[in-house]
C-alpha cells in the first residue's frame, strides 16, 4: 500500500480564552489565583488522506472540523501533534521552507463573498498566486494559465477585467476554485465550499469539483455538515464530535451500517424526500461546551448506551469487522 499524501497524528488545538496575565488573576476563597481557560477545539485527531481520494470530515458546529482544515493548511499552528505531507513533516516549517507546500496545498473557503478581494479584478485575483509561486513565468505563460483555469471552471475568460461583486455567488465560488487551481495543486482543502449556495448552484459547483478531481488527479479534504453531499462526493468519511473522530469509514459502509451512536443519530436527522414525518433518533441534551470537556467519551452525556466505563475512559478508534473504525466502548464490547 502506498503511503498517504497527508498524515495527521495526535493533532490537538487549544484556543486560549483567558487573555493576558492580569486578566487571568482571579480572587477566590481569600487569595489570588491564576486561572486559565481554553477552548479545546481538537483533542487528539489521527487521520490519513490517501492520494486521489476525497476524505470528508463531517460534524456539527463546534466539533472542530474547520479547525482541522485550517491546521492542516498551516493557517493555525497545532498545540500538539504532527502533520506530514508526502512523508515530510510540515507543521513546524517557517518562512521559505513552507512555500513549496503552499503551492501544492490550496484551500477553498465557505463564503465566496468574503474570500475574494473586492478591490481586485478577477484577472488580478488569479494572477497573484501564479506570480508568487512562479516568479520566472512570462506574461504570456501567466495569461495562458489564467485562460485555462477560467475556462475549466466555466467562467468566460473575457470577464477577467470585472470585479468580484459583478458575479453571482455561484460564479464567485467558481472563481475561488479557479484561484486554487491556478498553481496546479495536488491537494485541496475545501471548507464548506457549497454551504452558502442555492440548491441548483450547489449541484453545479459539486460537479465542477468532481470534474477537477478527475482531470487533475486532485486529493480533497472536504469539510461539510451536509451528509447528503458526503454520501455523493466522499471516498471516506470521518465523523467528528467535540474535537475527536468518533467514526471513520468508507462512505458506502458508513451510510449502510453506521456504528457509532452519534453517527446513527446524525444520519437519522437528515430530512429525506421520501419521509412523511421527521423520524430522527432523539438525543438527550445538547453539545457540551469545548471549554470544559466531559471526562471519558465526549459523547457519553447524550448517548443512550453510556455506562460507567464510557464516563471514565476515553475510547480509541478501533477497527471493526465491517471495515469501519469506531471510537465507542459499546461497539468494542459488542453491546451495540
Amino acid at each position: 500500500m502506498t503511503s498517504p499524501l497527508v498524515r495527521i497524528r495526535g493533532l490537538e488545538k487549544r484556543f486560549d480564552l483567558s487573555g493576558g496575565l492580569l486578566e487571568q488573576i482571579k480572587f477566590e476563597g481569600g487569595r489570588f489565583r491564576r486561572k486559565q481557560e481554553a477552548v479545546h477545539a481538537i483533542n487528539g485527531v489521527d487521520l490519513d488522506v490517501n492520494r486521489g481520494e476525497a476524505l470528508c470530515v463531517v460534524g456539527e458546529s463546534g466539533c472542530g472540523k474547520s479547525t482541522v482544515a485550517r491546521t492542516v493548511m498551516g493557517l493555525l499552528s497545532p498545540s500538539a501533534g504532527e502533520i506530514e505531507y508526502d512523508g515530510n513533516r510540515i507543521d513546524h516549517l517557517e518562512g521559505k521552507d513552507v512555500l513549496p507546500y503552499r503551492r501544492k496545498m490550496q484551500m477553498i473557503f465557505q463564503n465566496p463573498y468574503a474570500s475574494l478581494n473586492p478591490r481586485m479584478t478577477i484577472q488580478q485575483t488569479l494572477e497573484e498566486p501564479i506570480r508568487f509561486h512562479h516568479p520566472d513565468w512570462s506574461p504570456m505563460q501567466i495569461r495562458d494559465k489564467i485562460h485555462e483555469v477560467m475556462h475549466s471552471v466555466g467562467i468566460d475568460p473575457d470577464w477577467g477585467s470585472r470585479f468580484g461583486h459583478e458575479f453571482s455567488g455561484g460564479q464567485r465560488q467558481r472563481i475561488a476554485i479557479a484561484r486554487a487551481l491556478a498553481v496546479d495543486p495536488e491537494f485541496i482543502v475545501a471548507d464548506e465550499p457549497i454551504s452558502a449556495l442555492d440548491v441548483s448552484i450547489q449541484a453545479q459547483v459539486l460537479n465542477l469539483l468532481m470534474d477537477a478531481q478527475e482531470s487533475r488527479g486532485l486529493t480533497y479534504l472536504f469539510i461539510t455538515h451536509d451528509l447528503a453531499v458526503v454520501e455523493h462526493f466522499g471516498t471516506r468519511v470521518a465523523v467528528m464530535y467535540l474535537g475527536r473522530v468518533c467514526e471513520l469509514a468508507d462512505t458506502q459502509t458508513l451510510f449502510a451500517t453506521p456504528r457509532h451512536p452519534y453517527t446513527q443519530a446524525l444520519l437519522s436527522a437528515i430530512p429525506k424526500l421520501e419521509d412523511d414525518r421527521p423520524n430522527h433518533i432523539r438525543l438527550q441534551g445538547e453539545v457540551p461546551t469545548p471549554v470544559n470537556l466531559p471526562s471519558g467519551c465526549v459523547f457519553h452525556g447524550r448517548c443512550p448506551y453510556a455506562n460507567d466505563r464510557c464516563r471514565q475512559e476515553i475510547p480509541e478508534l478501533i477497527a471493526t469487522d465491517g471495515g469501519a473504525r469506531v471510537a465507542c466502548h459499546a461497539v468494542e464490547e459488542g453491546r451495540l
Binding site: L273, R277, E286
Partner: protein, 332 residues
C-alpha cells in the same frame, strides 16, 4: 371558505429607475390546520410573500395590487392599527435567526409577558402562567428558570424553542415560519421541526413554512408551492409534487439534490442561475435555463394547467396534456 386566501398579490420595490417586481400576481390559499410549504431559491420571492401577508415589507417595498383575505377580511387594505391586532395574535411569525428576534436586554419572561399584555387585558401573574405553560409545551428543560434568563444564556436550539413558545402565546390560527431551522445544526434542526409539527397538529394551527430544503417540506407539509422569480410555478399536494414534479424547474431542483444522484457520478444540474429582479426575462422567467424552452415560452407567461391535483405554469406540460387528450379522443 379558506382561512387565508391570497389573490393576485403584487409586491413591488420602488427604486431609482422604476419598480422592481418582487411578486407578480401570486395566488394561493391556506385552510385551517393545514401545513403549506413555500419552496424556492434565494431571490424567488418566498420571504417577500410571507412578509407581505402581515404587511411587514419595509419601504421601498409596497403591495401594488391583489388581496390577502384572512377569514374574509382584506389584510392588505387594513390600517396599521387594525393590523397590529392581528400580528402576533391571530397570525404569528417565526424568523430564521432567533438572536435577531429576541431582545438581548430583556429576560425571556419579560418579553413573553409583554407580548401577551399587548393583546390581552389580564394580570401580569396570569400572563406569566401562560408564558410558563408555553415553555413547557416546547419541552424546554427547567422552564421556570428560563423565564428569568436572558437570550444570550441559551443555546441556538433553545432560543428557537423560545421563539416557537412566543409564537404560540396567544393561540394563533396561523404560524408563518421563515426558514426556522436554517441557522441550526442537523440534529437540532430535526428536533425543532418535529416539535413544530407536533404542536401544529395538537393545537390545529395552520403552518406556512418557508424553506429551501425539500426534505423538510416533504416531512412537514401537506401542500407545497414552488416559486421562481416572483411567480408560483407549481403548487399542489406535497407528496404528488415530490414524487412526480411537473415543472422543469421543480424537476431540476429535485434531481440536483445529492441524494438523487448515483454516488461518484455527476449530479443533474440546471444551467445558469435565477435572474435578478432588474432584468427578468420575458415570458416564462425560467425559459433561459429550461431544456424544453421554445419560442412560445419567450413571449408570454404560461397560464396554470391542472395535472392530477397539481397546478403548473408551463407550456411544455400543457402541450403534453393536450397531446394526451387528442390521443385519447383518437382512440375512442
Amino acid at each position: 371558505m379558506a382561512l387565508l386566501e391570497v389573490k393576485n398579490l403584487d409586491v413591488r420595490f420602488a427604486v431609482r429607475g422604476g419598480d422592481l417586481k418582487a411578486l407578480r400576481g401570486i395566488s394561493f390559499s391556506l385552510d385551517k390546520g393545514e401545513r403549506l410549504g413555500l419552496v424556492g431559491e434565494s431571490g424567488a420571492g418566498k420571504s417577500v410573500a410571507a412578509f407581505s401577508i402581515l404587511n411587514l415589507i419595509a419601504r421601498p417595498g409596497y403591495i401594488a395590487g391583489g388581496q390577502i383575505l384572512f377569514e374574509g377580511t382584506d389584510l392588505a387594505a387594513m390600517s396599521e392599527r387594525e393590523l397590529s391586532k392581528i400580528r402576533g395574535n391571530r397570525i404569528a411569525m417565526i424568523f430564521q435567526d432567533p438572536m435577531m428576534t429576541l431582545n438581548p436586554v430583556l429576560t425571556i419572561g419579560t418579553q413573553m409577558v409583554e407580548a401577551i399584555l399587548a393583546h390581552r387585558r389580564i394580570s401580569k401573574k396570569a400572563a406569566r402562567d401562560i408564558a410558563l405553560d408555553r415553555l413547557k409545551k416546547v419541552q424546554i428543560p427547567s422552564p421556570e428558570k428560563r423565564l428569568e434568563q436572558y437570550p444570550h444564556e441559551l443555546s441556538g436550539g433553545m432560543r428557537q424553542r423560545v421563539i416557537i413558545a412566543i409564537a404560540l402565546l396567544l393561540d394563533p390560527e396561523i404560524i408563518i415560519a421563515d426558514e426556522p431551522t436554517t441557522a441550526l445544526d442537523v440534529t437540532i434542526q430535526a428536533e425543532i421541526m418535529a416539535l413544530l409539527l407536533d404542536l401544529c397538529e395538537q393545537e390545529n394551527v395552520a403552518l406556512m413554512l418557508i424553506t429551501h430544503d425539500l426534505g423538510v417540506v416533504s416531512q412537514v407539509t401537506q401542500r407545497m408551492l414552488v416559486m421562481y422569480s416572483g411567480r408560483i410555478i407549481e403548487q399542489g399536494p406535497t407528496r404528488e409534487i415530490i414524487n412526480d414534479a411537473q415543472h422543469p424547474y421543480t424537476q431540476g431542483l429535485i434531481n440536483a439534490l445529492p441524494q438523487m444522484g448515483e454516488p461518484g457520478e455527476r449530479l443533474f444540474q440546471i444551467p445558469g442561475s435565477m435572474p435578478s429582479l432588474k432584468n427578468v426575462p420575458s415570458g416564462c422567467p425560467f425559459h433561459p435555463r429550461c431544456r424544453f424552452a421554445t419560442g412560445q415560452c419567450k413571449q408570454a407567461m404560461p397560464d396554470y394547467v391542472r395535472s392530477g391535483n397539481v397546478d403548473v405554469a408551463c407550456y411544455e406540460v400543457s402541450n403534453l396534456i393536450e397531446q394526451e387528450k387528442h390521443m385519447q379522443e383518437a382512440e375512442s
